[in-house]
């Protein structure tokens, strides 16, 4: 006699109750206001009925009570999500038709790369709850690896991508392995220290070109417009990939770790490995964004990889909504485009960002477009 036998789940009666329960779930959940609903009191209909005997009469009563809301189907919900993503992609693809000056293209390409960084950091901070304040280290590792290989060995940039992936995975393990056993707040400062180590090392070594960095990195596409489209496609895939990881077994494990490490361990989640996996995934995303960055600017130097960069990516994730894919995409676009629009406020920009970070945490910790914890049946 071993274990619980696999019984076939679900009988018809439960099914009806379930779908009706879903209606109530749905009625309290507007996608943009889910965060408000989160704070609301327990569902009234299910609140204090735990001691009532379950009987058919009660079930039908509930069915009636809950049947009031319009039942959205699984398909319509999926469509909504997909619509949001596709609309965003369409917008990105059409943007050059509105304004294709070199300046606009450059800003938009940078914004797209920034979106990829935010999607990567979201895996670490949003899904797994690990505060990484040196995320730019992986961005630097990716950019420098591809830049050094391309310029010293005359390789095309694409050929450096496999090496970049390997190097960033190694960097993720080297940084994560000793630090992920620590308390989360120690982790924050250690990652910050690592960010500085990488930057200072790049500054001191000859192979990385010292303080002046690397010049003449080959591009990935013939024209700025072509490169912009290439970036958009890569970034869209990266965002989709991060979202898919987030919904899978490993993504759930990340959230279990974020919510309660002990309970996660008790359910068989090897928390250390799971955290390392999040860290490595974040590292790969950051590193690949670094390749795009190197190709975009064709020159990189340690000055591009300061703590300020790490903090800006973190701000994008927090502002948009930790753990929410549409949220961090919007957050990244806001953080990267806003300064271009508000040029007059340049002196106050980072000050305002700092205040904004505090304000978001105090007033709306779930961000602009919060992650949905309600499920859609």
């Amino acid at each position: 006699m071993t274990g619980v036998p696999d019984t076939t789940p679900e009988g018809a009666p439960e099914d009806t109750v379930r779908s009706t329960a879903a209606d109530t779930a749905e009625s309290t959940d507007g996608s943009a206001t889910a965060g408000v609903a989160r704070a609301a009191a327990p569902n009234e209909a299910t609140g204090e009925t735990a001691n009532e005997a379950p009987g058919p009469a009660r079930k039908t009563a509930e069915v009636r009570r809950r049947g009031a809301g319009r039942p959205p189907t699984r398909a319509s919900r999926l469509l909504q999500n997909r619509w949001a993503g596709l609309a965003g992609l369409l917008l990105a693809l059409l943007a050059p038709f509105v304004d294709a000056t070199p300046y606009a293209l450059s800003v938009m390409t940078s914004a797209a790369i920034f979106v990829m960084l935010a999607a990567g950091l979201n895996i670490v901070v949003g899904y797994c709850g690990l505060l990484d304040l040196g995320y730019v280290a992986f961005f630097a590792v990716g950019a420098y690896t591809s830049g050094v290989l391309a310029t010293r060995l005359d390789l095309p940039l694409v050929a450096t991508v496999p090496v970049v992936i390997v190097v960033t995975v190694v960097a993720g393990v080297v940084i994560g392995a000793p630090t992920l056993r620590l308390r989360s707040d120690y982790l924050a400062i250690v990652t910050l220290g690592f960010g500085e180590i990488i930057r200072i090392t790049a500054n001191n070594l000859d192979v990385t070109g010292g303080p002046s960095g690397i010049y003449g990195i080959p591009g990935l596409a013939g024209s700025p417009v072509a490169f912009y489209y290439l970036t958009v496609v890569v970034v869209a895939l990266a965002v989709l990939g991060a979202a898919r990881l987030g919904r899978s077994r490993i993504g759930r494990a990340w959230r279990f770790v974020r919510e309660d490490e002990d309970a996660a361990e008790a359910m068989g989640v090897h928390t250390y490995r799971v955290k390392l996996a999040a860290y490595i995934a974040g590292a790969v995303w950051g590193g690949l964004a670094g390749v795009l960055f190197a190709a975009h600017l064709s020159a990189i130097s340690p000055g591009s990889f300061t703590f300020l960069q790490s903090a800006l990516v973190l701000m994008a994730v927090v502002l948009g909504g930790m753990g929410s894919v549409p949220g961090v995409v919007i957050g990244a676009i806001v953080i990267s485009i806003l300064p271009e629009i508000l040029r007059d406020l340049a002196d106050y920009r980072f000050f305002l960002f700092g205040v904004l970070l505090i304000a978001v945490m105090l007033l709306r910790p779930q961000g602009l477009w919060p992650a949905r914890s309600k499920e859609v049946p």
């Binding site: 679900e10 009191a41 299910t46 919904r247 996660a264 068989g268 090897h270 914890s373 309600k374």
Partner: protein, 256 residues
Amino acid sequence: MTTLLSVSDLRLSFGGLLAIDGLTFSVNEAEVVSVIGPNGAGKTSAFNCVTGFYRPTAGQIMLRGRSLRGLRPSAVAALGVARTFQNLRLFGELSVLDNVRAGAHLWLRQNVLDALLHTPRYRRSERECTEQAHHWLDFVGLRGDRYGEARHLPYGEQRRVEIARALARRPDLLLLDEPAAGLNHGEKTELLDLIRRIQALGVAIVLIEHDMGLVMEVSERVVVLNFGKEIADGRPEDVRRDPAVIEAYLGSDTHA
């Protein structure tokens, strides 16, 4: 009857404090064993030793002949042990279903590539995972909203979700730490029924509980701890009459 779990001469000390001082008991397959004793007797510490959260100072913990000592909690879970916590430890901001899906973590077969490419295997395993989650929520009789956040459920319902989560692990051994705490009379009756149904699935249960009515009703054997020491181990009706147990609970006249 084959032995599933055997704990022998377990000792645990925090600094100079001896929390468990020589605990020995065993659990057979599909058996319900209760561990009782006054507060601070070392019951939860013993659970934490078995499940890998504490490192015992000395003693043996064997599950089907394999030592659990030195394993991390997730490795103990992988060998077929699931538990609940004294102070509910649900993933509060996740949906009820996601909470129960945690139980599927160990047996769900999908890798990162499946997830990235949404392969048929990914879809199949996700579907199975959700079906199983629903199944175990039905099994524990959850009436509340399954799609909303777990922390919004009433207390008694949260207790059920925690048990469903542990069952979704499909364990051979289930450790329940004060499952009746905070439940009303009706809920306790349902819990009693639930424990019997879990046992009927072939799962062995170790129960820490203060509600003597429940303990005497449901257990095949009762282990009594006091100040980290084991003072009795036997059938409920024998333990109830044991002078040492009565003394531990009521205090003896000679000391009074």
